[in-house]
Structure formats: structure tokens, C-alpha cells
Symmetry: C2
Subunit: 349 residues, 2 copies
């Protein structure tokens, strides 16, 4: 093993997608934990709750009723962070007090009519429906908006306030910080190396194997070399794909299958419904549709907070907020742990 893979030695690793470094101090896993213990994720959720605004047929906060949906269901967020009609704040000449207009739309998407399922427990065809809907929304909102952010906050620990399986889609008239940075990094790499960064990365990880969690003929999930969250993963197609809407029918089926495998492993790690935030990054849309985006490669980031058990998470605080992200086990250790877990869900075993 290369020296950096040895758990005893702290070192820095470079994240080429964010042009930043992470401090890997694996020996920190030895320290005892006397800090905050989280409530374990709720395991007993009723299939239908008459008071849950996301269930089929129920009334939402604004008085509107949900249809009796039997697959996915998309509606406008009742408390949107982005609205289509916000006025321009007007610009100050002072460089220290700069503001800009922000316009957009926030949608919520239920994955399934039942509250007691999650993606890994859904049928493959049901997950394909979710993927098709994601692609449709990127296509539709992407005609106008430069960025369409699909993300799922799963679990109360990750700020999710409703146990019904759902994600959000926020489209904006601006390229947010994270994709703007990722765009710059991927572009610079492409200009220097003549191939998309993440396409080369996926090839090398598939050869190296030590950070691979699950793979198939068209997809790959790895704990990236530069992972910051303990069990963070990066999910990538093997073919050069710009946006989720560009995936073929076959690739969508492959994606549903690999998502189910990855998320089953996540749930099996501590035998709980694994909390995380996840989201898709692909080439920007709207006015960018006319530009050359060959440097982009579609990918999903999974950021799960748990570190030691179902109730002890990694706190990204203090040093992490003020100086630099720091992790307590190597990405290779995390990948190995996930890789060795069964692919059958603990709830259906």
C-alpha cells in the first residue's frame, strides 16, 4: 500500500473538483467519544399518515390538496427559498456591499405514495420512475434556468422535516458557488489534459479498485480520494454524459440498480436508514446550453454524516469551519468497509 493509505499517518489530499485540501488524520478514530449522541433515525413510519402533507390525497399548508398519486408526484414548495418574481435589489457601487437579484423556483418531488419506503427498498422500476422525473425536470427547468439543483436531504439529522421519501429541485437564474467552482476546475483540467477530469478519474479508480464501493458495466461508485465526510461517495457514469437528461434508457436502469446497491450498503453499515444529503451535478443549462460543456461529466455526491455508529456523527465545526476539513478514517478504510457489506437490505434479510 502507498504510504498515504496507511491509517497511522496524517496527511493532506487534494480535491481537484473544489481546488482545496482535506486533512486526513485517521488515527483520530482511536479517541473516545463523550460528545453529543443523536437520536437514532426513526424506524417505524406509518405507510399513510392523514396529517402528513406529502401523502396522496392530503391537504398541504397552503390548502391545496395532493392528488391520489401512485408513482412520483411533483409540486411547488409551499415555502420556497427562490421565487420567480423577486425584484432586483439594485447595485451598490461599494465592493464591500454587493447584492444581486436571485430568481428561481423550488419544487418538491415525492418518490413514492408510501411513507414507509426509501429508495433502496423501492422496486427497481420505481427508482427508474424517479430518475425519469429528475431528467424531465432538468430538461424542463433547464430551458430557462442556468442551474437546476436536484438534492435529497434524508433523515432528521440532515434537516429533513418529513419522513416521506422525497427530494427537492431548486432552479435558479444564477450559477451557485459550488457548481461554479466545479465548472472552473473541470474546465481548467480539460484545457490542460484534453479529457474530462471525472472521466479520467473514473477510469483510474476502476483500475485501482481500492476506493470502489459498487460498480457495473455503465456506473461506478467510489469513496473519492479527497472525501471529507466519513462515508462520502461519488457516483459516476463510465461514458461521457453531460446531464442526467442525456442518460439512455439502459443507463437509467443501470443507475436505478447501482443506487439500490449503494444505498442498501449505506443502510446496512449501521443497520439504520442512513441519513445523508445527496445531489446531482451536471453541465449547466439555460444560456449555457448553447456553449461547449465538454469538460463536464455528470455525477452525484452523497454526503452522509454518520461516523462511528447510528448515533454518533462527524461534526464539521471549529477547525473545519475556520480552517480546513478534517477526516478521521482514510477513504480506503471507508470504501473497504462499505464494499464488504452485504447487498441484501437488513430489513428484508
Amino acid at each position: 500500500a502507498r504510504l498515504e493509505s496507511l491509517p497511522e499517518h496524517q496527511h493532506l489530499r487534494y480535491n481537484p473538483l473544489r481546488d482545496s485540501w482535506v486533512l486526513v488524520s485517521a488515527h483520530r478514530m482511536k479517541r473516545p467519544w463523550a460528545g453529543q449522541v443523536e437520536r437514532p433515525p426513526e424506524e417505524h413510519i406509518p405507510r399513510y399518515d392523514p396529517n402528513n402533507p406529502l401523502c396522496p390525497g392530503n391537504k398541504r399548508a397552503n390548502g391545496k390538496g395532493n392528488p391520489d398519486y401512485d408513482s412520483t408526484f411533483v409540486f411547488e414548495n409551499d415555502f420556497p427559498a427562490l421565487q420567480p418574481d423577486a425584484p432586483d435589489p439594485g447595485s451598490d457601487q461599494d465592493p464591500l456591499f454587493q447584492s444581486k437579484a436571485a430568481r428561481g423556483v423550488c419544487k418538491v418531488m415525492c418518490f413514492h405514495p408510501w411513507s414507509d419506503v426509501t429508495l433502496p427498498l423501492m422496486k427497481k422500476e420505481e427508482v427508474v420512475n424517479v430518475i425519469d422525473k429528475w431528467a424531465e425536470l432538468v430538461e424542463e427547468l433547464g430551458t430557462i434556468y442556468p442551474w437546476v439543483q436536484i438534492f435529497e436531504n434524508k433523515g432528521a439529522m440532515m434537516g429533513c422535516s418529513n419522513p416521506h421519501p422525497h427530494c427537492q429541485v431548486w432552479a435558479s437564474n444564477f450559477l451557485p458557488n459550488e457548481p461554479a467552482l466545479s465548472d472552473r476546475c473541470q474546465r481548467a483540467y480539460y484545457e490542460k489534459h484534453g479529457e474530462p477530469m471525472l472521466l479520467q478519474y473514473a477510469k483510474r479508480e476502476a483500475e485501482k479498485k481500492e476506493r470502489v464501493v459498487v460498480e457495473s458495466s455503465d456506473w461506478l461508485a467510489v469513496v473519492p480520494y479527497w472525501a471529507t465526510w466519513p462515508y462520502q461517495t461519488l457516483l459516476l457514469p463510465r461514458r461521457h454524459v453531460l446531464r442526467i437528461s442525456d442518460l439512455t434508457t439502459e443507463e437509467r436502469e443501470g443507475l436505478a440498480a447501482i443506487m439500490k446497491r449503494l444505498l442498501t450498503k449505506y443502510d446496512n453499515l449501521f443497520e439504520v436508514s442512513f441519513p445523508y444529503s445527496m445531489g446531482w451535478h451536471g453541465a449547466p443549462t439555460g444560456p449555457y446550453l448553447k456553449e461547449d460543456n465538454s469538460h463536464w461529466q455528470l455525477h452525484a455526491h452523497y454526503y452522509p454524516p454518520l461516523l462511528r455508529s447510528a448515533t454518533v456523527k462527524k461534526f464539521m465545526v471549529g477547525y473545519e469551519m475556520l480552517a480546513q476539513e478534517q477526516r478521521d478514517l482514510t477513504p480506503e478504510q471507508a470504501a473497504e468497509k462499505l464494499r464488504n457489506l452485504p447487498e441484501e437490505h437488513y430489513k428484508t434479510r
Copy 2:
């Protein structure tokens, strides 16, 4: 009021210290909260706990005993993320798999012999002792290390695993991401405008008043125009000061006084010991001591997570992790709320 100060209108604001944007969607405070509720911060902590490794006279994990200290007390972290002797991982030629050596030292500093006090409840002279010790550590560790990060994680909600009042000091042989970015931004501003960014900023905020929380003849605390955390503040000297070790005796007394005032307001906001991560940023040290750092201005960042009450925090998840930070009230609303709170602590009233 300028349009951007109106709580109804979402907009973007620019953070010149991080060259990034924050989405301000103040109307989101209207949404009901059905998500995770935190355990309120522990209010009854014994003055002395025979099992607490930070109390005077007690044994720590490594078997070493603490002295019977009666002021501040500094020792080496028993589970350091940075050690002085880590080997060089050796460098890969591949730009996607880059690592670097990380060396340093992690210290813990107790503020006071008693577990049942916090900075706002300590005497002014006791807070001056803490500031003097901070200055001493920056001076001492700064002879070798380019970066000395002083930070305090306060409250279990912020990953703090010991209620005894303390902070940490991590010194490293590298400039971490956050200060490296801040250094670049301050340097570019200085080159363009001929004055340190934060010196100009403090002057303008002192005139504008709407974001000021507390001020004195030599210090200023504001909710910065670009705040991301709900009640985030920036604490600045009015004079051009590069590092905490450069503060005069008078300025240290002024700092102790303004810290007590700011932290008392924080505690009074929801009548709990207010959780936060805070830390100092000043000009880099070690090899940088020989360089011109006129673009730097010493400052402290306070990042408190609470949003609505003592038990409901802001989750920086999903959209924030994958796209851009978003806040639910304007910085002006937050500053006004803090400004109007009494300066007498709710526990001593």
C-alpha cells in the same frame, strides 16, 4: 431602507472574504418547522467533576495529571489531528491523486478552573488572561508554523464533547483552505484599493450602523453583510492590527469587555448558553513573518447554529452543501435583534 434590507425579497449578497455568494431568502422564516428539535444546552454543570479530564488536579486519558491550575491551563491534545512527526506520503505524478505532508501540533486551553462558567460569566480580568494566553500561543507556535488556528467549539450541538470552558489551538505546517482563501481575497482588495479590506469595512459599518451589534472605542462587532449563519458575527479591532499578539494592553482589555457584551447578548437571545464555533484569523506566521502582510486585518468569526429557538437550529445541508449557502432572515434583522437585547446576563439578572 435599501431594497435588499426588506425581509420580503430574496437576493444574493457577496462575501468579499471568501469570494462567494449567499442566498438571502428572509421570507422562509414564515415556514412552520416540523423537523429535528435539539436537546437544549445543558444548564446545570457542576463546578468540579472528579471524572472530567479538564478539571484541575484530575487525570487525563493518557494517565497524565492536570496541575491544580487557578487561571488558564494549556496542554497537548491527547488525540491530536496534527502531530509534529508524520512522514511525507510521497507525491504521485497523477494530478487526480495528490497528497502532501501535514505536520503540526494540537493544544487544548482551559479558560478557567471552574466547569460552570463561560466567557460571558467570567470576570473581565479572567477574560484578559485568556486573550494574553492566545497571544502567547500565536507568538510561540508562530515562530515555526505558518498557521495557528485558535477556535472554540461551544455546546454539544457544535461537537464539543466537554462542558468545561475551553478552546483549541491547532498549528500546521500548511496554510489551510479558509485562511488561504481569505489571504488571497484581502491581498487582491489591498492591491486594488490601497487599504486593508476589513479596515475599510469596519469604518463603513460603524457609519451605517444597521448591522452593528456592539461597539467600543477600539472594537466593533457586526452581523456581516454576507453572514450565512443566522446570528453570525464578525469581531474587529478599529485600528489596523495584523495578529492577536500585536494587541496593546488597552486593546486586550477592550476586547475582553466587548467579548463579554457580545456573548452575553448571544446567551440572552434564547436564554441558554449559546452554542457556536468561533475562531481567530490574523496574518499568517512562520515563514510569512518576513513578508509584507499589510493586507491582513485581525478578526474573529462567530458561527452560531441556532435559528428559531434554543432547540431549533439552521441545517446547512442539501442545497447549502451542493449549491450555495442560504439564510432565512436578513443580517439586518439579526443585528437588530441582538442589538436590542440587554447587556446584563439572564443568569445574573
